[in-house]
Structure formats: structure tokens, C-alpha cells
Amino acid sequence: MAWMDIFRANKPSTAQLAKERLQVIVAHQRAGALHAPDYLPKLQKELLEVIRKYVAVGEDAVNIEVERDGDTEILELNITVPSSKN
């Protein structure tokens, strides 16, 4: 305990910061492992290819998200298509 500590008493220690950062990272990492199956990027790419056969859409037209609701996982699919003008 150096006497200098008096002047930095309110500053969180770097170890404390490390722990807080890790808790966020790890929670995110574990949620990611649960919520995002490996096939999602491929599914997204293939869906985009199929849609493009019929409609001209941009790279970001297909948006996939997985949400967990209790025991069920919900695969949410959003496809943005340009409004059709006759």
C-alpha cells in the first residue's frame, strides 16, 4: 500500500477493468455460439442468390437473425426488395 494510493483511491484497478471487459466479451461469445449456427452465412448467401434470380436486390437485401425465446429459437428473415413500379 504505497501512500500515493490515497490520490488514486477512486480509480478502478486495471484488473477490475479487465474483468468487466471480459465479462462482456465472454457473454457475447457464448450468446453467439448459442444463437448463430455455422450455416447462417451460407444460408444468407444462397438465399440472396435465389432472390436475385427474380428481383434485382443489393448485397445487403437479406438479413438473418436468430433469437432465443425460452426453449425455442426463432430464425428471423428480413428481405428488402425494391418497391415495384408499373
Binding site: 500500500m1 504505497a2 474483468k19 471480459l22 461469445q29
Partner: protein
């Protein structure tokens, strides 16, 4: 049937090989016939840490490829009874390591040995995945530092999803091994504590190895640190092995070393 233990971490340089060497040596010293396998194809180091680098004639890949028998490739430790080393290949590329090949070698070793220790390479590529694939138990080597802890958590995810046990609905028994622990820095709030790391990774603690100059001294002379006399890191590894074998032992070297009054006043 042998028990298969992988020593893994994700991150490199945290002490996987040091831990593999000391853990395998400790098991053998306790009277269990043990083999330690280096899975780091192309970058082998276990042979150096074990001090057998000049005795490697055939390696793990030679056995997988059928170019040598297991008997030819196993190196018997000269200092410790019951201890054998299977070196990795230094020249072949990683593709030589196949799941079927590894399965066959581990199967054959299982008939003869009580413990098979798999020293994983860093990363989460093929060599690392194969090192953990057949594991019954895993030692997760972690430094009290953010990148190491994150990588360990990632590896835990892989152990519970991609291994043979995970695929058959069983689980790999996980043990936390914290290495390079500096109790003085923890006391000063500069390093994550054992409790912090345990909180985050949420797996049972098997051992804490203090930061020690002796680890480098041990590798310099090709002798696992557990074999050095009167050394804290060696004592910590011995405790770890005893706990693994079911003995209850308190964790040591977790308290800061006492410093002089002036040092404490001005040392910060």
C-alpha cells in the same frame, strides 16, 4: 482403457507444453504409465522441453503414415520410469495429421498406457481440434490476462461442441490451470485474480502455477519444471497432479510475498 487428457488454451505461449511436460511427468512419478504426445506438427517443442530432442528418430506422423511402428517412435524417458514421449513431425505439413490416423494411434496406445496426454498446438485449426477430439478430460491453460481468458472461453465452446464426446452427447471434463500467476500484481490490482478467472470461465480450478524464472531455467536444460528441486512452480505442479489424481490439496502461492516496510510504503 487409458484416460485421454488434452492440454489446450487457444492462445499461444501461455504454458501448454510446459504444463503437458510437467503434468505427464507427475503422473508417471505417481506410478502411472503415461505417454505425452506433441500435436504441433511442423513446430514441435515438447521434445526440447522433455530433453529428448536428440533421441527423436521416428515421430507421430511416421506412425500415422505407417512408416514406423509405435514401438519405434515412442521415446522412453531416461529419468522417470513409466514415462514415454511421442514427438511431432518437424517437416511434414499439417495435412498428414488425419482423424482416422490419430484415432488408430490413440487406440493402440490405450491398450498399453493409463494416461495419454495430448499437447495441443495454439490456435483452433486442425492440429488443435484433433488434439482435443478424443479427449476424456481437458486442462485449460490460462494466463490471468484478457486475451488468454477470452481464447480459453472460445476453446471451452469447441470442447463442448466439436469433440467426439460432445458429438455422442457426453461431455469432456474440464479443469482450469492458471499459469504465470503473480500474486503481488494481483494484490496491487494489476492482474486478474484466481477468483476473477474462475468467475469468468466457470470451470473447476485444478492448479495455479506462479510466475517463475525457474520455468525458463527448466526449459534451458531440457528438464520439466516439476523435476526441479525446491522450486515453487514445481511444487504447484505436484499439487496439481495430486489433485487430478483425487487428492485434496490447498492451493499455495496465492498470497503476495511479504515486502519490507519501506518497500511497502513507497513501492506502490
Amino acid at each position: 482403457m487409458a484416460k485421454i487428457i488434452v492440454v489446450t488454451s487457444g492462445k499461444g505461449g501461455v504454458g501448454k507444453t510446459t504444463t503437458s511436460a510437467s503434468f505427464a511427468t507427475g503422473l508417471a512419478q505417481a506410478g502411472h504409465k503415461t505417454v505425452v504426445i506433441d500435436f504441433d506438427v511442423g513446430l514441435r517443442n515438447l521434445d526440447l522441453i522433455m530433453g529428448v530432442e536428440r533421441r527423436v528418430v521416428f515421430d507421430f506422423i511416421n506412425v500415422i503414415a505407417g512408416e514406423a511402428t509405435l514401438k519405434q517412435a515412442l521415446i522412453k524417458d531416461k529419468r522417470v520410469e513409466n514415462l514415454y514421449i511421442l514427438a511431432a513431425s518437424q517437416t511434414r505439413d499439417k495435412d498428414a495429421l488425419t482423424e482416422a490416423g490419430v484415432a488408430r494411434v490413440i487406440d493402440e496406445l490405450s491398450k498399453d498406457f493409463e494416461y495419454i496426454v495430448c499437447d495441443s498446438p495454439a490456435g483452433i485449426e486442425k492440429g488443435a481440434l484433433l488434439a482435443m477430439h478424443f479427449a476424456d478430460e481437458a486442462l485449460i491453460v490460462t494466463n490471468p490476462e484478457v486475451s488468454s481468458v477470452r481464447d480459453s472461453d472460445r476453446v471451452l465452446g469447441i470442447l463442448s461442441s466439436k469433440t467426439a464426446r460432445a458429438k455422442s452427447g457426453e461431455s469432456v471434463r474440464e479443469h482450469l490451470v492458471i499459469t504465470r500467476y503473480d500474486a503481488n500484481r494481483v494484490a496491487r490490482g494489476e492482474m486478474l485474480s484466481v477468483e476473477d478467472v474462475k468467475d469468468i470461465l466457470a470451470i473447476p480450478l485444478l492448479g495455479v502455477i506462479p510466475e517463475s524464472k525457474d520455468v525458463l531455467n527448466a526449459s534451458n536444460q531440457g528438464s520439466p519444471v516439476i523435476s526441479l528441486p525446491d522450486v515453487q512452480a514445481a511444487e504447484a505442479y505436484k499439487d496439481m497432479v495430486a489433485r487430478f489424481l483425487g487428492e485434496e490439496r490447498a492451493h499455495r502461492f496465492l498470497d503476495p510475498s511479504s515486502k519490507g516496510f519501506l518497500n511497502r510504503l513507497f513501492g506502490g
